[in-house]
Symmetry: C2
Subunit: 104 residues, 2 copies
């Protein structure tokens, strides 16, 4: 059993998104990504079984999907297959939590 | 691929915590629990393989563990085995997101 605060521990960088591994196990991997406005997790996919969630903890931006984008703001959660193209772009400073099950 | 807003869709009830199934698949189950002050998810465990996270989306309260409690506020995340005793008690109105992998 462990706890942490995902709104306080992650940092930001002008050089690119910052990544903080919150948890990793055979069951799921939880990662906090922090973005300055304009930064992004580029659209990508992996040819693997499993699903992931992309939760917006704070801020505004857009989810990146194949041939489209979907507005994203605090409280939004996107769920998709690991094999489906997915990404995130920040319009404001943005904190994001990604959960991958099972981990890659 | 699907999206929802977990700060807007769940409701509260004076009668007890409200539960909203956000997602269920062979990979993980995601549930939003909303509590009025004083309500709780009583401490419990299941003799199963796997882990879960309990994330505080909004509000203040405490995590319930074996023989102790741990303060819980917005942004906190607790990760534990499904087999470890766990629960949550709300001190204020509280929104919580629970992710279980693999689902029970």
């Amino acid at each position: 059993m462990k706890t942490m605060n995902i709104l306080q521990e992650g940092t930001f960088s002008e050089k690119g998104m910052k990544k903080l591994l919150v948890h990793d196990s055979p069951y799921f991997r939880i990662i906090n990504f922090n973005f300055k406005a304009g930064q992004e997790l580029p659209i990508h996919s992996h040819e693997l079984e499993g699903e992931l969630s992309i939760q917006i903890l704070e801020g505004e931006g857009e989810y990146l999907a194949k041939d489209r984008s979907i507005p994203a703001k605090t409280g939004d959660i996107l769920i998709c297959d690991i094999a489906e193209p997915h990404g995130v772009r920040a319009w404001t400073e943005m904190r994001v939590l990604v959960t991958i099950a099972p981990p890659l």
